[in-house]
Amino acid sequence: MRSLKSFINSCWRTLFGDTIRAFGTVSLLLLLALAIAPAKNHFSEWRHYQNQYLHMIRNRGDANTLQRHFRGGIQQTWLPELGVVDRCASCHTGVGEPSLADVSTQPFRRHPVIPHSLTEFGCVICHRGQGAAVTAGDAHNSKLAGEEPLLPARFMEASCGQCHHVALTGTPKLNQGRYLLSRYGCVRCHTVKAPDGTRATAADVPPSLIHIADKTTREWIYAWLKDPSAYAASSTMPNFQLSDADARDISAFLIANSKSQPGDSLEETAGPAPDPAAAASLYGESFCASCHAVQNAAGNLVGGDLGPELTRIGNKAKPQWLMAWLKDPRSYDPNTPMPHYQWSDAQLKLLAGFLQAKSDPDLLTNVHLDSATAPQIAHGKALVTEYGCAACHEISGIRKPVNFAPELSRIGSKPVAQLVFTSGMPHTLPDYLAGKILKPRSFGAGLRMPQFNFSQAQAEALTTALLSLTERSYTLPPRLQVASIPESSYRPAGRAGKLMDEFACLSCHRINGRGGDMAPDLSWEGSSVQRAWLDDFLKNPNTLRPALIRRMPKFNISDKDRAELTDYILTVYQTASIDRDALPSSGYPADLVEHGKQIFYSKYSCQACHILVSGQDKGYIGPTLSQVGARLNAAWIYQWLKNPQSLRPGTMEPNWDMSDEDAHALTAFLMMQKTAASQEAKP
């Protein structure tokens, strides 16, 4: 014990000499240690930025205002309900100052205009990063487990998608990404759910393969499986990068598995169209191009994408099948969006011959398949199960796989530590997602996700949509969630409903929340139009808008069916806000009509967008009004003039805040426009 004491004493002496000096040195050290904390605070990064900010605003004309708004020290936004603790404004001092619009240096830039207030939502909900950190490095680029870095500006729309599950006008990239997710059938294999449990649904129409052998040949299936884009540039079918043997076996299985069905083929086939010009004009006037695209000589696709591309349809469709399909598509596929055109036999032959001639002689020249053996067919079946073909296509004997691919409902919050990157790829979640979308098979051997043909911009849009699927959207209060509007399950009823299925009205028109968006919504058509006009239009659809290239085709409807449809539309598709008989269809006093004409041409200048007298007015935007008095109900016109958006949300016609008198006079004038000859007089 004594020896220890003497050892310490000797150390003490060796270090400091005597006790007084020792006391002084230790006190100094203690003081220094006490000064560390205040010094760290004094030299902190945020204080440096605040001093810089004060220096910057000193000489500005608006210095007084800015000075008054300035608060020193750590600035914190605490929103317990949203789980936000943000100290970003400690450095980003001018973020809420509208007058700093000219400042472009960070961190003093003001926040650009957005629809939400910064104090209500904080920063990290949109920008991610670590809000509680007080150094730029920790706040922006944290790579620690469980912490996420800032979201790059180009994916910022993803943050809107955490709450807004409906398409917003201001988020085109997010909207496109979500559209691609459903259009390319991503959601058929990957489950994507919103926080309220609604599942994203696919918008593609993969054909059923139950009767595939009636429709096409094994050689075509082989070529298609090997490279879908060689047959159709616009194909949504991805490339599974199958080996020759695998493609041979799958095609063998699909043909062997197919059940023939009477009615899928017709005995009679079409030869080459005798009159190509007549065939092309039938193709044109049936408006096939509204849904089907064809590659033109320059290699550009011309036409819609609702139906499959027809550039090389002659390589695919068997002639017997094509005739039967054109005659009645519903006998092969009861759920097809293709309407039943009811063409005459001569027209059928003309069109079938025309389509059969659309083929590429080189497409199948190198495909030579020996007849299939039983082991090949069995192997093909195993492959079809392995690649999950039945997730999209109906195949007899193969069950639709459940949870085939990883669920993506929270992919936007996946920690970087859980991701496996390919070499040379930046270690961020957006880069990982874009890589998976563009080159899924490059992440390792044995992966089954197929190769899609996405452009860089499409991949970025898809990445944005995936980044919107975050953990945070589940923890935000449900009152903030703007749910998507699900497609309704509306089906028109009765015999008319059957006819509407037959003509596939809902492929283009929307009714009561279901259907396409190519043509006008018909939910209130019965309140809108007059009976005689509707009957005549169904008989011979002619366009109301001269500049449109997509128009209603002629379905050759019989008189009886037409009467049925007209009755149904007029009685069922009505809105309660319009009383059809509230205003008369004619008999307006001449001075009222004259007044209406005056304001039509002067005060409201309707001729800017509408044609009333053809040859004189040139407005191309709205429908032609030369016979509007024979087409629309007076009560509809009146209501339309008062508030067009109440009848058709998003329509271009502005809400004029029109007085009742003006609306009445214009209605009177427009109701007098019954025949093309009734407006010969010039204004």
Partner: protein, 243 residues
């Protein structure tokens, strides 16, 4: 012991030599020629989204004094903060051209991009290009323009969307027409969009959209019109007090 010390010293020397070697970015070859002028082939004045690659690459041609293309001349790009070039420099190809992809920074507005090269006497020759980035507000304005305005305000016509511009007796101004629109204040634009042409004694063919669009939407449209105007719109500047 001594041997280890020698090895350590040798390693330090090698490390120093290795660090002094300047890393040459892959793909950049050395210039073999020099031009006299830079000409924009395509890619200027594009409108893109903030932080995103522009839809088209920038293509620059290097010419000599006679206006002939020069192959093998060095071209360098510079831009304000946040602008990325892929690649940022390189030599012109056999047709005298150099192509780069540009992504703009995170702030909406106009970005001036400086392209430079050196002539025979090592003097710098430059070319300035303007690119435009749209943020949330301008992007919304663009969408509204497409929905409500461009059928009349743009003379560009496609089979899908036939322009109504030429049908109108009084021609609407293109939104890029800075000579006219820059003279109108934000309040003027707000008035004419909300209340129609007659509110500013202009053509009644311009209808009022004040009850159709919200005020925020109209402001978004104005922000879009301001950002794409040519010549550029200059907002009233900040006043500085005397030092």
């Amino acid at each position: 012991m001594k041997r280890i010390a020698w090895i350590v010293v040798a390693m330090i020397i090698f490390a120093c030599i290795g660090c002094r070697q300047k890393a040459v970015p892959p793909g950049v070859t050395h210039p073999t020629a020099s031009g006299a002028a830079l000409v924009e082939t395509s890619g200027g004045k594009q409108v893109g989204t903030v932080g995103t690659a522009l839809p088209q690459p920038i293509v620059i041609q290097v010419n000599d004094g006679q206006g002939n293309a020069v192959a093998g001349a060095m071209v360098k790009f510079r831009g304000p903060g946040g602008v990325h070039f892929d690649p940022i420099e390189g030599v012109s190809d056999s047709s005298g051209q150099f192509t780069t992809n540009v992504s703009l920074g995170g702030v909406a507005g106009r970005y001036q991009i400086l392209v430079s090269s050196r002539d025979k006497s090592e003097r710098e020759i430059t070319l300035k290009l303007d690119e435009i980035a749209t943020g949330y507000q301008q992007q919304l304005g663009y969408q509204l323009d497409q929905n409500y305005c461009s059928r009349c305000h743009s003379s560009e016509s496609s089979p899908e969307r036939v322009s109504n511009h030429d049908n109108l007796e009084v021609k609407p101004h293109e939104f890029t027409d800075g000579d006219t629109l820059n003279k109108m204040s934000d309040a003027d634009l707000l008035a004419i969009i909300s209340h129609g042409g007659p509110s500013l004694n202009r053509s009644p063919l311009m209808p009022p959209y004040g009850s159709t669009l919200s005020k925020a939407e109209i402001q978004a449209l104005i922000a879009y019109i301001r950002v794409i105007s040519d010549p550029p719109y200059k907002a009233a500047g900040v006043v500085y007090t005397q030092q």
